[in-house]
Subunit: 308 residues, 2 copies
């Protein structure tokens, strides 16, 4: 089978740490081009912008966009207009309206569009989904608490308008719970704590209810020192489930049931290859929609200034 | 033909001023019940909550929800679960996630769900859409400026978290532009001015671009004294269009082309009857999605306190 000829747009940390190894390990893909203003890669054709790649004689079937979200819509639209399949890093856009436009554009052109949520491919997530599918959820607690100074040093954009603040990591939690919970859920109220010298929240508490009335409480914190937590606990009528380490470990009633090596990005590329083969798309905006709902509905309180 | 037996839920100002006359004038509907905590209507069965109506022997085919947005999802879900068609006043919910749930629920049960945007039925809107469909848009200016003290006296909820502030009227403008413009458009940046003693914006400036690159500028103001403006101006390659008075008047190159009596709510009920007859739904969330995008992406600045 001829491999899918892939161009990677954006060669930052996530591209080097995750995308390049996953592509190299998957024989269904052949990396044929890098698009990056400044960076390049030995042995791979390099272009400083997507327009130059599309005008060149390098043949490309698909494009993976690893740039920040702000320019992503224009790049994705350009790639789809040129007949290329598109993978979007998370979040799939700066606004929901532009993601909906990409979804419609890809559908109209029968191209594959994949809005990726890498945390959904964490080891514990699929067994958690299967286990919960047969049970009734009573209550959910999401604790997503990390030290922004450790994990996002110098990332000033995260604090700007549209930068999402603590929702930048917490959208991973939302991508997991929207996958594993058997019923949809809706925000009832929220509180966003925004540092007086910043635009985006540094902490948040969100109260959702699922369609069966079960409470879902999310506590998000960017100022967590000491032990970090990326944990989701689900009480059901048939036992207690816990996902820890961002979904890498699954516990049932205190027993560790699943853990394994990180296969998140290989999982994304496996899905991308299958979607292309099937002529299908996967554009689930539910995690970003919950974030937008939180910004729309929540109360804002002023937090102390954040100085890195 | 047997009329559609309709229950009206919520008997506030919008129900009395708009829904009751529109229902009375449309022979395809028969008002069979009022659901309201406090208010009732001579000659129509009255229930204090929807559960009581659904448990009664009053036969109902469809429900129109005129309550505030916060409880609307629970009511709509209950009505759909009981096999009733549902009309939602604008905005269709407090969050996008709950509207998506209603859309899926209605589709799964083959029931009609109508998310209404009454301004889309203003006299000038449909001719504006037809005129713009044949032209290329160069620039759009939205000026939605009204005096909150005149139009929303005592409506404290409008200032609370989720109350939308100046977007409560401005979502009408967004419902019109999402209908009349030939291309989709996306928010690039925004500024929300939030009074220091309130949660919701009192003024906003939003900069969008359409898929062809044309700039769309929206200026929203809740502090407009003197002449009020609910105007949309569209520059095209074939002349200038202007909608004024919230869409009631259409001007082309300065000439008044269309004006007419207010037919917005009769238009909504006409569409509701046709959707039910066709077994179809109309759940366009684009206006609310743009509002959520504005809350997600915009910079916030502190405005002077608002004291009514």
């Amino acid at each position: 089978m001829t491999p899918i000829r892939l161009a990677l747009v954006g060669l930052g940390k996530i591209a080097r740490d995750q995308h390049l190894p996953a592509i190299a390990a998957d024989p269904r893909f052949e990396l044929v081009a890098i698009v990056s203003r400044n960076a390049d890669l030995d042995g791979v054709a390099h272009f400083t912008d997507l327009t130059a790649l599309l005008a060149s004689d390098v043949m490309v079937d698909a494009v993976a966009l690893c740039t920040p979200p702000q320019p992503r819509h224009a790049l994705a639209h350009m790639a789809l207009a040129a007949g290329k399949h598109v993978m979007l890093e998370k979040p799939p856009g700066a606004t929901l309206s532009e993601v909906e436009d990409l979804r419609q554009t890809a559908a109209a052109r029968s191209l594959t569009l994949q809005a990726t949520w890498h945390s959904r491919f964490a080891t514990g997530v699929e067994p958690a989904r299967a286990w919960l599918a047969e049970r009734t959820v009573r209550a959910v607690r999401i604790n997503w608490k990390e030290d922004v100074r450790v994990w996002h040093p110098g990332q000033d954009w995260i604090w700007e308008a549209g930068g999402l603040g603590v929702f930048d990591p917490a959208i991973n939690a939302l991508s997991i719970v929207t996958r594993i919970l058997p019923l949809p859920f809706f925000l009832s109220r929220g509180v966003l704590h925004v540092p007086e010298n910043r635009q985006s929240p540094i902490q948040a508490e969100l109260d959702f209810r699922d369609a069966g009335g079960a409470p879902i409480r999310a506590e998000l914190d960017f100022l967590q020192t000491g032990p970090q937590s990326w944990d989701i606990e689900v009480d059901t009528d048939g036992g207690a489930l816990k996902l820890t380490n961002g979904g890498a470990k699954l516990w049932i009633d205190g027993q560790l049931m699943h853990e394994g090596p990180d296969r998140e990005y290989p999982g994304l590329y496996d899905e991308f290859a299958r979607l292309i083969a099937d002529g299908a798309s996967d554009v689930d905006v539910a995690p970003l929609r919950h974030v937008a709902d939180a910004f729309l509905l929540s109360e804002r309180v002023v937090a102390p200034p954040f100085i890195e």
